[in-house]
Amino acid sequence: MLKKTKDREERFNQEYPILFPVIYRVSYRITGDEVISEDLCHEAFIKYYERHEPLPDINQAKYWLIRVVKNMSLNYEKKRMREKNAVNKLEKITPQYMESTEKGVLKEETKIAVQKALDKLPYKLRVVLVFKEYAQLNYKEIGAILGISEGNVKVRIFRARERLEKILKEENAYVSEG
């Protein structure tokens, strides 16, 4: 028993430095927030650490962790959407004030325009694109993690790229204007 625990602890220490950057990148790209990503990773790795059955290999561990992070990020996404809706309502009430501050924020953060564009993607499309581009998963793996068909993954990734292209074009026009 004790030896088994020790073995697993050793394995965890070996896998952790390899897995953490991937899981962190995925959660950061989905949530767009460093603090939230750290919290998600913390929870996911604790869950992994306390798992009864060890996973057969590091790749399985990666899929498992990505799935956990993705599920947890959905709660965050719902909260964010509620806040966004509240802000939009506020914007309608006091348009001038909101516009000026938003402009200021945008100018300051042009360097993370790509992440901003990603944030604007619908959650469903963002998740598949993040899995593809930042976790280097293939369509089959993404399908397995999300429980959807490979064909569906293909469609979603394409739509995500299409939308992102549009958003980036709009954003570039806006930035060059300002």
Binding site: T5, I112, Q115, Y139, V155, F158
Partner: protein, 195 residues
């Protein structure tokens, strides 16, 4: 020559998700059709943009989370694999009590304690009230030899007891050499003797 592919196919081609015969045909097509080649590079540039985007340094977070995991595992009985808890003898296992139940339990316990002390206090005052009369009174010794027990003596005793609210302790001793035999009518049962 292949017909111009849809953007969706180009996207899948870029991801290396197009099977072998089609893959080569598409490659050939991109080298011949400038329109499709342009679209290919456009879609590809999105991937480049995403990958070139500056990333936050994950090392500080990596170390912080690692520390937190170890702190967590040493703090609680949870350990790697979460198996320790299962192997503990039952008296050392943790029991989860839902919050409402815990609150209810503590309230009930509090009421029990409070009422216990409340009634104890009442008893004490009652005893303190009666106490002096009961314990400060000197025992009165009235020795009545059994042979000489007459109606008058008993009446004196009963009167004395009556005056004392029957709270006087009475000790009746029989002579050591007494022999018990049925003899006459019981005097205590005689209505004449009762006052």
């Amino acid at each position: 020559m292949l017909m111009c592919p849809k953007d969706e196919i180009i996207s899948a081609y870029l991801d290396g998700e197009v099977e072998t015969p089609w893959k080569e045909k598409l490659k050939e097509h991109f080298s011949e059709c400038s329109k499709c080649a342009k679209r290919l590079s456009e879609i590809q540039s999105i991937s480049y943009l995403l990958k070139q985007d500056k990333e936050p340094d994950c090392q500080p977070a990596l170390q912080r989370v690692h520390r937190r995991i170890y702190f967590h595992s040493s703090e609680s009985t949870h350990r790697i694999g979460g198996q320790q808890e299962k192997d503990l003898p039952f008296w050392r296992r943790r029991v989860h009590i839902p919050m409402p139940a815990a609150v209810l339990l503590s309230v009930v316990l509090f009421i029990l304690f409070a009422s216990f002390f409340f009634f104890m206090g009442q008893n004490n005052t009652q005893m303190a009230h009666k106490g002096p009369e009961l314990y400060n009174s000197q025992p009165i010794q009235v020795t009545v030899p059994i042979e000489g027990l007459e109606a008058g003596d008993l009446e004196v005793l009963l009167k004395l007891l009556n005056n004392k609210d029957f709270s006087q302790e009475v000790l009746m001793e029989l002579p050591e050499d007494s022999q018990f035999t049925v003899f006459g009518e019981p005097e205590f049962g005689d209505p004449k003797i009762e006052r």
